[in-house]
């Protein structure tokens, strides 16, 4: 009997999968992605957006939902007092953070990638005639759909990091919503020169780059954008790890 990295991951999976809220939040996330994608595909007419962009138009709300999933998983350790049992069992602490991130991230990646493909399939079936139909063989389509899964997986990890960092569900969710939804809006209020320079690098804009089929001006290249977003996640995880290791539980 001893602590193993695999054991800690298995433990975190047990915690994750044994909560009803996990299944509800995951269900809502994937539903948002599919329903919004399908509705947008059916109703939009014009040539500014491709079939893939339309299929993934639920990704902003889905990102919020998977972020909440990660944040709740992490913050509930503190709000319920479970953290004491958790850290008494794993006194080195950091394996808990890595495992929680891995479990939430992988679960979101798998489910949301499937959701992205489902949204694209359903969206294509009901696609408005004015929008050019696309197939999986077309340039960038698979990249955008897989990219959506990767981005949403990373958002779940960001949620975990924020939850462990601020130790409160409401606080973590507020920060998450602020970063993903409100910051881009605030940036638009800055003088044009500054706004143009920083807008592509804002977390949600950078992350979304990988999901857009046609890169407009002021958008990072797909994988560059995802890498920038991953950078934000890594930094947040680092700060969360520091607090977990240094402060009293």
């Amino acid at each position: 009997m001893k602590i193993t990295p695999g054991g800690v991951v298995a433990a975190e999976w047990t915690k994750f999968s044994s909560l009803r809220s996990t299944w509800i939040t995951t269900g809502i996330s994937v539903l948002l992605l599919i329903v919004f994608g399908t509705i947008a595909s059916a109703s939009f007419s014009g040539d500014s957006l491709s079939a893939v962009d339309l299929a993934l138009s639920g990704s902003t709300l889905a990102a919020l939902a998977v972020g909440v999933l990660g944040a709740l998983l992490a913050a509930s350790e503190y709000t319920t007092g479970m953290i004491r049992a958790t850290l008494a069992a794993v006194p080195r602490r950091l394996p808990v953070l890595w495992s929680k991130s891995l479990v939430a991230g992988l679960a979101a990646l798998v489910v949301m990638t499937a959701g992205a493909f489902a949204a694209f399939a359903l969206g294509s079936a009901v696609l408005n005639q004015d929008v050019g139909a696309l197939g999986l063989g077309d340039d960038g389509v698979v990249r955008a759909l897989v990219g959506a899964g990767l981005y949403l997986g990373l958002v779940a990890v960001l949620g975990v990091a924020l939850g462990m960092l601020v130790r409160s569900s409401a606080g973590a969710i507020a920060i998450l919503a602020g970063v993903l939804l409100i910051v881009p809006g605030l940036a638009a209020l800055l003088p044009d020169a500054i706004a143009d320079a920083i807008t592509p690098y804002l977390p949600s804009n950078a992350g979304s780059a990988v999901m857009t089929l046609t890169q407009g001006e002021g958008t990072l290249a797909p994988w560059t954008g995802l890498a920038v977003f991953a950078g934000y996640v890594v930094v947040t995880l680092g700060v969360a790890a520091y607090r977990l290791k240094k402060s009293d539980a």
Binding site: A11, T14, G81, R84, A88, A89, P91
Partner: protein, 298 residues
């Protein structure tokens, strides 16, 4: 074994644990006593590394807890009742802890059975009473078959049957050679289970003693048909003899043995010869009075 060595913990400007040192040894039940706010829970959190001491250190089985390869096998702890996600079932809660160490599912069922929770194993923890929460916490503490079992106020919220269960469980664990430590703010809860007592107040060690030693003989009650003869017989410089009834005396400064022997040499009949002990409760109150008053005055 738990070794707490010169541990100090401050929260802001307030010193909650103050240069505390004690050892809880294997094969014994150690009672950790003190009024509310004395720093017992804080000390216990420091023992398993949840809170870091400002100075001093703690060893569990001779080494720092975090360095262990199998922490749940070193020490099992109950830190507070209902420390678990209310939405999880008892089984899932224990399974999540067990998996960290590769402890098999069969052991989870075993500790649930031991804690009398088999019937509610698949109920959500949120629906548990305080007593059931305590039982679940104790089950969790025993998961890793630990060498040390440390429980913070384990009988809180338990019914009399539960209290008896805890008492038997802990004596059994100590008899198996494990180190057992439990905290309480009530002497009555601990004196029946523990032989070794660590008493703290305001974070400081007040006494490191045994139940037997804490009970100090106050005096001897004697019932005899010849009180005056006995009084002259046993009198002396440090002895006080007071008459408490027609045939009754209360003696301090002489043991029951001395009085009995003296009476026998003169053929004085004794109907009763009893040590009157200060109750444990009184001894505990005396020790902690200052600490309690300090708390109340603030």
């Amino acid at each position: 074994m738990i070794q707490v060595r010169e541990v100090t913990k401050r929260y802001g400007a307030k010193t909650v644990v103050d240069h505390l040192s004690f050892t809880a040894k294997p094969g014994k039940v150690t009672g950790f006593l003190g009024p509310n706010g004395a720093g017992k829970s804080t000390t216990m959190r420091m023992i398993v590394g949840l809170d870091a001491p400002n100075s001093g250190d703690v060893l569990v089985n001779g080494k720092p807890y975090a360095s262990s390869q199998a922490p749940l096998h070193e020490i099992g702890v109950l830190l507070e009742a209902k420390a678990g996600h209310p939405g999880r079932t008892a089984v899932s809660h224990l399974l999540a802890l067990a998996r960290t160490h590769g402890i098999p599912r069969s052991r989870v069922d075993e500790v649930l059975e031991l804690a009398g929770l088999s019937a509610v194993a698949h109920k959500r923890v949120g629906a548990f009473s305080l007593g059931m929460g305590q039982r679940l916490g104790i089950a969790a503490a025993l998961l890793g078959d630990p060498a040390v079992v440390m429980l913070d106020e384990p009988v809180n919220g338990l019914d009399p049957e539960g209290v008896l269960w805890v008492r038997n469980l802990l004596s059994g664990l100590a008899a198996e050679g494990r180190t057992v430590m439990l905290s309480s703010h009530l002497m009555s809860e601990v004196s029946l289970i523990a032989e070794h007592l660590i008493i703290v107040g305001r974070g400081k060690l007040l006494a490191d003693t045994t139940v037997a030693d804490l009970v100090t003989a106050e005096g001897v009650r004697v019932v005899t048909p010849a009180p005056d003869a006995l009084r002259t017989l046993i009198g002396g410089p440090d002895v006080t003899v007071t008459s408490t009834g027609a045939e009754e005396l209360f003696v301090t400064g002489r043991t029951t043995r001395e009085i009995g022997l003296a009476a026998a040499t003169r053929g004085i009949p004794l109907f009763e010869l009893t040590s009157q002990n200060a109750s444990l409760e009184e001894a505990f109150m005396d020790l902690t009075r200052d600490a309690v008053e300090y708390e109340a005055a603030r």
